[in-house]
């Protein structure tokens, strides 16, 4: 048996070139889902194979990588993916949002505003925003081509008719640069406004569904809504019990079986930085305007 030898960042250079071409096309057509020949990765589909392929294709030896899952650097899958790139690419890693050049994420956008030169790589399970309204790919591709998004508006309208409000709380659809309706991946809608006019490049990789899409820096990203039912950002109305933040997205932690619970920042780096600099109020990291 030949022991396998792996290239820098796992993927072979030919595969990386193919993925980079898809990324370039995605950047040229913001919000459009570019098909690509997704590879089998050494982790299961649905666990970030799309994001991992995008990261592997853009990573250079001087990059500094941060990996988060649910906003945290410490969750099991984030640890696993970070270790994968430490092992296969040997790149430096960090938990500090501001120090990273590439941030791979699942389900969150960091609280600290991203800067020019940074790349945010999203792991995407279902790239097609219309999928749950129309299961057939042949139909949804046609709808995108014709910019026929009536089905989506109808869905949001039916939410209001049934529940009195739009009842989509995550993976909330957005329109990119006035053209394509896009799935932001299952981030809570709290994060949607951060995608708009963002200084960093945002790349989205869906491995199982074989799609890559992108939001170039400083692109208009608008959450779909109605004039009389405008988009609403949601966060639990409380302060983080660890750092006191009143502007961050909060996780609910159950503390006992008698109804006890506490709320803490989902973005662990944001929370830790605030706690470390609690006595120096001016050094608190800058979040996005609410």
């Amino acid at each position: 048996m030949n022991a396998p030898a792996y290239n820098f960042a796992y993927l072979d250079e030919q595969t990386k070139r193919m993925i980079r071409r898809a990324i370039l096309k995605a950047i040229a057509i913001p919000g459009y889902q570019v098909p690509f020949a997704s590879r089998e990765m050494p982790m299961p589909y649905g666990w970030g194979t799309g994001g991992v392929q995008v990261t592997a294709s853009i990573l250079g030896p001087n990059d500094v990588l941060k990996v988060i899952d649910q906003g945290s650097d410490d969750t099991t899958n984030a640890v696993s993916i970070r270790k994968f790139f430490q092992r296969t690419a040997g790149v430096a890693t960090t938990t500090h949002t501001r120090d990273a050049t590439v941030i791979q994420t699942r389900h969150r956008i960091p609280e600290q505003a991203l800067a020019e030169g940074q790349v945010l790589v999203f792991q995407v399970p279902i790239p097609e925003p219309l999928r749950f309204l129309e299961p057939r790919e042949t139909e949804t591709r046609r709808m995108h081509a014709l910019a026929d998004y009536s089905l989506m508006h109808l869905k949001l309208y039916e939410d209001i008719a049934r529940h009195g409000r739009i009842s989509t709380s995550y993976a909330y659809p957005v329109k990119v640069q006035g053209r394509y309706v896009m799935d932001p991946s299952p981030t809570p809608k709290f994060d949607n406004p951060k995608m708009n006019d963002c200084a960093a490049l945002q790349l989205f990789g869906a491995g199982r569904e074989k799609r890559i899409y992108a939001i170039p820096p400083y692109t208009a990203v608008v959450s779909l809504d109605f004039e009389d039912h405008p988009f609403e950002r949601y966060r639990h109305d409380a302060r983080c019990e660890l750092c006191g933040a009143d502007d961050s997205y909060l996780d609910e932690v159950i503390t006992d079986d008698r109804g006890g619970r506490m709320f803490v920042c989902s973005d662990t780096d944001y929370c830790e930085a605030r706690r470390a600099t609690a006595d120096k109020p001016h050094a608190v990291p800058q979040g996005y305007p609410a």
């Binding site: 982790m43 649910q70 640890v79 696993s80 279902i126 999928r131 299961p135 609910e252």
Partner: protein, 366 residues
Amino acid sequence: MYVAVKGGEQAIENAHLLLASERRGDPAIPELSLAQISEQLTLAVDRVMTEGSIYDRELAALAIRQARGDLIEAIFLLRAFRATLPRFGASEPVDTGAMAIRRRISATFKDLPGGQILGPTFDYTHRLIEPDAADAAPQVPAVVDAVEEPMPRVTDLLAADNLIERSPARDFDAPVGDLTREPLSFPAERDVRLQNLARGDEGFLLALGYSTQRGFGRTHPFAGEIRLGEVEVEFVAEDAGFAVPLGRITVTECQMINQFAGSATEPPRFTRGYGLTFGHCERKAMAMALVDRSLRARELGEDVKAPAQDEEFVLSHSDNVQATGFVEHLKLPHYVDFQAELGLVRKLRSDFERGASPDALAEAAE
């Protein structure tokens, strides 16, 4: 020239001998022991016990060896044996809340009473083939003893706030459905549906569960909790008049938290999907929970449009022993039926060549 008129019996006997020798493989290589199979092919044993519907590790290991590693064949062997066993009755409901826990994770809360216990899982391994792993002495893992004190189920915590539908109330006098004793009929009750899914083929349920995630009957699932560990099985013996412990079995339970439902008279609440297997069959338990929830479409007033919501489609095709039998029965001789078809096609062709009109042909076909 091959004319299979006689000699069938001899041929079958020879084929059996050949099978036995192929199964054994090279006699210079030691035969697998049952202990090796049940200790090192643990998950194959768990799957065969679950779909074979018998909790017996040694028997499952024996079946796997006899079946040359073909798990459906091994399940078949176990089922055929099970059919010969008398049925004494139904055990008391097992209490998974009192499980001695080896693994317990929730995807809905970062932390919760009892904590997240990762346990033995492939989940965060990198799938890189490691050729030396077989020879290297294993490192001793840091493990705590199984957690014995009751660990509240995530769904119970949500139910305390009325955020999820109630579990159906226990009714100790209600008979427990058993489709090995009563044939399946439609519409099927949930107990029989769950029994069917528990015995059902892992691959079939996996594909159906997956189809619901891709939009064919979406149910918005969250893995509220997956737990693995040992539970006590008790049986009420009529003579003794009280519940007698029969022993402990390992089970995997999955509770999915699904799409909320509400109406003009009821505030919105999450709904449930349930999966339970023998041993450590996590993929199966999760797929089962997804399909269980999909099959509740009718009960919850949802449109039945996707395959996974169609109870007749799902329950009639989930059993791999039935499926493999019927698919593979096409290998049996069908000489006489085919001869009849052949005669008909020849007759129709000769009609066609004699210039019979298409209308007449259509009439003949009807």
